[in-house]
Symmetry: C2
Subunit: 533 residues, 2 copies
């Protein structure tokens, strides 16, 4: 029984393999996160206009003047400045095309001394700044709201050093995540974090936002893996703990304040991070199940049986997979029908034979118990990457029809999917959603995410952004999360989108303490203003 | 060749098994950390006297008066106070019997509200306090220097809740580590930290000191595993992030400030921590090697081949094992002779057969390459615990002849053992050390520790404490560490012992930032004064 179930999986895998060979549309896992043509022609309205009822430019900030430009030119030369309006657009807009700032200047420093000189000048002259990495954030945190100067870290992009005995990697904040991981691959190591935007996002950006991503389940959070940071404070002071070893217990762990502060305390310019050995064997299974209850049961079993080799456990609902199939113009790898839920399981270990045996035993058991209805195991690297595509393309697919309202939440597992159901009920009551009817502004609310971390992504796919839709969803979504003692941001941060909602996840005392720290280190408030603190 | 080497190991294991059966002196792994009779009769001098040339009572702190006692009695009742001099001794002295304070009062609160009321009163009345957990610290951080009030957390000792789906454990700060782990064992989970003092130390204490311990290699640091804290600030404010889920990205991660602050910012009263599944299979191998170079090579190989199942990699030098054998009055498990270095390797996994195969393949290779000279694999739980005893008894053994100067350092792996060699050379030059000659004040400098984390414990075993010995060792040891860019405290903290040496591991800017945070949250300086900040 067990063996025959596995054979079914194997046959599906062979089918998938052929299908992939026939369709070369998707060949790599890491899709470039650039808005698709279908909606890139529309102009994104200024954030300042969309939210004119809520936010106004603070007159305490000076406007950029010619002598400021001269000063910055003296630091980074003309090549390090962007002032042309067309070129500025990429930096002013977020990739979801929901927010658009009006900055007149991007500065691209090349050294920590340059960052220090720039911030010191801005601080003395009350020039507001917004730090920006790869501009792949999902809460509008790295784009200006008004005319803040954008400090883009893309020119600080060198690997500084790697110790192949300890696995400690030191690098500039502007190194692209995928480049860091490719460097590590050659050394037999892996970056302890992975996410869909890896081809664009910066290492400094993910640390600044405390990104979680796909392998937190296995390698833990950045609060544990980041060993040291180099960061510039608003007054130009350079904080440096890059020499820290794996264990250092001398004084308060100050670097932790920068992890997740979203550029409101200073600019991270360098990162020292502990990297694990690269797994020598990987497996990916894609499963279809018929209820959210089954998703939970499969997870509990997987954690028990796959234990130390389980490296990802992702779930997706049926609607998001339907939208993904439309977007990719591909048939779904699970051919036996449409299912309400899908699961992607990844294992990473040091011995392929052992891992195969563990995975097959586990899947055999899950099928025998009736938890899993159908499934597929990748037979080679290409299939493995292709299965991942069905998970990693979901964000793009849900945005492709016009836009997407994204909510990234953490809720105890049992209640996790309830939020998607509640959102769909709310949209139905408002009569504004339909998968087929293109006159309705909302397509659907879908759910997917990292079950292993209790982390759900609620994506509300829309045909257009509007204040009416936002009013239907907010604060409804935040109130629902608060009622379940959840967090309104599991891994995306608060940025601009959730600036008014921190109170749903943090107590007044916590918010007061956060503000005290902010005021202490950034008394003039030049760092990333109009955001959550 | 490979198989026959393994058989040798198996035979040794059988021998060990018999020997253990014959000697029941050591039956459990967790030795109680109480000074042995041989030196408990001596009176420990007051820290204030020993260091009278360096430290004086700050007159800004009020002395305890009868009305203060009345106030505290009103909060915790008479049962919650200790004022009898004999009973106070345990709390005034550290377990190494190196430091002794002169506190007239121990308070044992039972609730967070009581802690809040106590601290608020102390803050308003300038009464200095020192928080204390299980009093197992190694740097004199949890003992008073003068007459500070000791706030002992042992009466806040309840498990609050456990979620068996997520593995999130919430508990009072005063729960003993071993009790927490035994609770988790019944649920199929494990506490993500283990250390020799587990039978006495408190969970709140290990978090406050950011303890590392034996399994950091596998489960990572407390900065990653602690999800939330409840802590009382000096003014009585209760900070609470106990509801935090595995992922929460809303604002600065304030709890991180308390992790490793050693009771200088407030008192941790509750901890929420993410616990991994308990491994279903464990193996322990004890190996003899002939050089420190071989230790490093075995480590690199172990990490590659044992990868996800490697849960501890500890090394011990020959001298510390000789002292341990004397102390335990047992023959060493490796019988074929004395070796300069020993290694303990632990694996933890979900499939015994797979783990055995990986370990045997690895050990076979290591013996074939000539890296390992002799070795033994535990054949059952009793043997496994007994082999651990040879590692975990080292701290006691090095203290048993009179006392021990402990240095807990982090240095890049290649230089790690060089510190022990340098210390022994220095002691030899001073002519004050001998293993046999009991007229010499120093026995020897020995080294052991967590190779996997680059963490060395340099223990200088002495027949008596003296300022002369201390002057030979300090600042020499700290200067040596600084010259290798190491940390002067990997996991023990700074406490009193290293209060003047933080500058060897932290820059002036970092120290300034630490002091700013301290002054902000504890403007009256009542929390654990005379320590490192």
């Amino acid at each position: 029984m067990q063996r025959s179930s596995i054979r079914v999986l194997r046959q599906s895998a062979a089918l998938l393999s052929r299908r992939i060979a026939a369709s070369r549309t998707i060949t790599t896992r890491n899709l470039v996160l650039i808005p698709t043509a279908s909606y890139s022609t529309k102009t994104v309205p200024f954030t300042a206009d969309t939210y004119s009822h809520k936010i106004h430019r603070d007159p305490k900030y000076k406007q950029l003047e010619p002598q400021d430009l001269e000063f910055f030119k003296g630091i980074v030369t003309e090549q390090g400045l962007i002032t042309n309006e067309d070129d500025l657009l990429f930096y002013n807009e977020d990739w979801m095309r929901k927010y658009r700032g009006q900055s007149k200047l991007v500065i691209k420093p090349k050294t920590v001394s340059q960052v220090s000189a720039i911030l010191k000048y801005c601080n003395e002259n009350n020039l507001a700044v917004v730090p920006q990495g790869g501009n792949t954030g999902l809460v509008g945190g790295s784009n200006p709201i008004f005319d803040e100067i954008i400090i883009c870290m893309s020119s600080m992009n060198k690997i500084r050093s790697f110790d192949s005995v300890s696995g400690i990697l030191k690098l500039d904040a502007g190194v692209i995540l995928e480049n860091a991981d490719q460097f590590l691959a050659k050394e037999g190591y892996i970056f302890p974090l992975d996410l869909g935007a890896k081809g664009s996002c910066h290492v400094g950006g993910i640390v600044s936002c405390n990104a979680g991503g796909l392998r937190l389940l296995r390698y833990g959070s950045l609060h544990g893996t980041v060993l040291g940071l180099e960061a510039v404070m608003p007054d130009g002071t350079i904080y440096n703990s890059m020499n820290a070893l794996r264990k250092d217990n001398t004084g308060y762990d100050l670097k932790q304040l920068f992890i997740g502060s979203e550029g409101t305390l200073g600019i991270i310019t360098g990162v020292s991070i502990l990297c694990p050995s690269r797994p020598q064997a990987q497996n990916v299974a894609f499963l279809a199940v018929s209820s959210y209850e089954a998703v939970q049961k499969v997870f509990v079993e997987a954690r028990k049986e796959l234990s130390e080799i389980l490296s990802a456990f992702e779930f997706m609902d049926g609607t998001c997979q339907k939208l993904t199939a439309q977007h990719l113009k591909l048939d779904h790898p699970i051919e036996s029908g449409e299912y309400p839920f899908y699961i992607l399981i990844e294992t990473s270990g040091s011995n392929k034979e052992h891992d195969d045996e563990k995975l097959e035993t586990f899947l055999g058991g899950a099928m025998e118990n009736g938890l899993v209805d159908d499934g597929i195991i990748a037979q080679d690297e290409t299939q493995l990457q292709s299965l991942w595509t069905w998970r990693e393309s979901v964000p793009e697919a849900t945005a492709a029809l016009g836009g997407v309202y994204k909510y990234d939440v953490s809720i105890p597992l049992a209640d996790l999917y309830g939020l998607v159901e509640a959102a769909n009920e709310r949209l139905a009551e408002a009569g504004i959603a339909s998968l087929e009817d293109e006159t309705k502004p909302v397509v659907a609310a879908v759910g997917y995410g990292h079950v292993g971390d209790g982390n759900l992504h609620l994506n509300v796919s829309v045909r257009e952004y509007s204040r009416d839709i936002e009013n239907v969803l907010e604060p409804f979504v935040y109130e629902w999360i608060q009622s379940k003692h959840g967090s309104i941001s599991a891994e995306h941060g608060l940025g601009f989108q959730k600036k008014n909602y921190i109170g749903y996840s943090k107590s007044d005392i916590e918010i007061k303490m956060i503000k005290e720290i902010k005021n202490h280190y950034d008394p003039n408030g030049i760092m990333n203003p109009y955001k959550y603190v």
